[in-house]
Amino acid sequence: MISTDTDILRAAEEWSRSGRQVAVATVVETWGSAPRPVGSHLVIDAEGNFVGSVSGGCVEGAVVAEAADVIADGKARMLEFGVADETAWKVGLSCGGRIKVYVEPVRAEAAL
């Protein structure tokens, strides 16, 4: 069972080593009642496979979609979700909180 942040970051390393393109999403800020604590990770590959969680299900779909762009252009992004932020995102958190998620690519090096 991959459920812990330990397992998730190990999965990120293993996926990247096996040649898959990988992005790591991290909850960096939360306001109000948010389902997953700051520091929670979601690891996503170019095919949209993912492990971990940043919200307990409410915004994973949007993060996975955005991760595809991060993998494609190699640029990190900051995403914000929440009921108070309807302009940027249509995906809300049912609990009424807000979260900021940082999505970054894992850059494999030739030496490894």
Binding site: S3, T4, T6, L9, R10, A12, E13, S16, R17, V24, T26, V28, E29, V38, G39, K75, A76, M78, Y102, E104, P105, V106, R107, A108, E109, A111, L112
Partner: protein
């Protein structure tokens, strides 16, 4: 995140050493700071503060916004006694994301059939513990009722900075244990670190309920109570 940074971060965590990954979220630049290098880091103060709380978070420094990914060593529970209670503890500890190590030199008890998926060391504690080491992210639990097995474990735990020490047994049993530990040279303050009777007082009866009360006490010690009494 460079794969090399991710690999170092995972390796340090497996070696039970803390790290903090510092990300400048505006520039997207990153560096990994190992536990021993924190004091010399320009961000030493916020790094130490976040590590003490074992909490990742945003910090502002020198007009920049950084995200600190804190990797504190994984909490671990070391138990003497391959007994009923530790059997019940095994799946619970796994669910709670606590690494469980069970030490018992009695090979009839310490069998893989009784303890699948658990780190099981069929050795005396005085052999096993120096090898695995006890640290500030370790809880030690004595469950055998046998001083020959429990006492060497408690001795090692009391000499370490384990965040939790607990010993099974009635008040009478513990009274005798206190006498032995006192004779071994431990003072009242040291012996006072031992949770005995062990576990939160939830009226536990069955082995599983006792396992629950012990793990609840360990989580309580690790995280600290949050709610104020009404």
């Amino acid at each position: 995140m460079d794969l090399s940074v991710l690999a170092t971060l995972n390796a340090e965590r497996e070696a039970r050493r803390a790290t903090v990954l510092v990300t400048d979220i505006t520039a997207g630049t990153q560096r990994l700071v190992k536990q021993d290098d924190i004091a010399a880091d320009p961000l030493a103060e916020p790094l130490e503060k976040q590590l003490r709380m074992a909490k990742s978070g945003m910090v502002e420094a020198e007009g920049k916004a950084y995200f600190l990914t804190v990797q504190a060593p994984h909490p671990r529970v070391v138990v003497t006694g391959a007994v009923h209670i530790s059997q019940a503890m095994a799946p619970m500890a796994k669910t709670l994301d606590l690494d469980l190590v069970i030490i018992d030199p009695r090979t009839a008890f310490a069998t893989p059939e009784r303890f699948p998926d658990v780190t099981l060391l069929p050795e005396w504690p005085e052999e096993a513990i120096p090898r695995i080491g006890l640290d500030g992210y370790t809880a030690f639990v004595a469950l055998t009722h046998d001083p020959k097995i429990d006492d060497p474990g408690l001795d090692a735990a009391l000499r370490s900075n384990c965040f939790y020490i607990g010993a099974l047994g009635s008040r009478k049993t513990h009274g005798k244990r206190v006498e032995r530990l006192t004779a071994a040279g431990f003072d009242q303050e040291a012996i006072g670190r031992i949770h005995a009777p062990i576990g939160l007082d939830i009226g536990a009866v069955s082995p599983a309920e006792i396992a629950l009360s012990i793990l609840a006490e360990i989580v309580n010690t690790l995280r600290g109570p949050r709610r104020k009494p009404i």
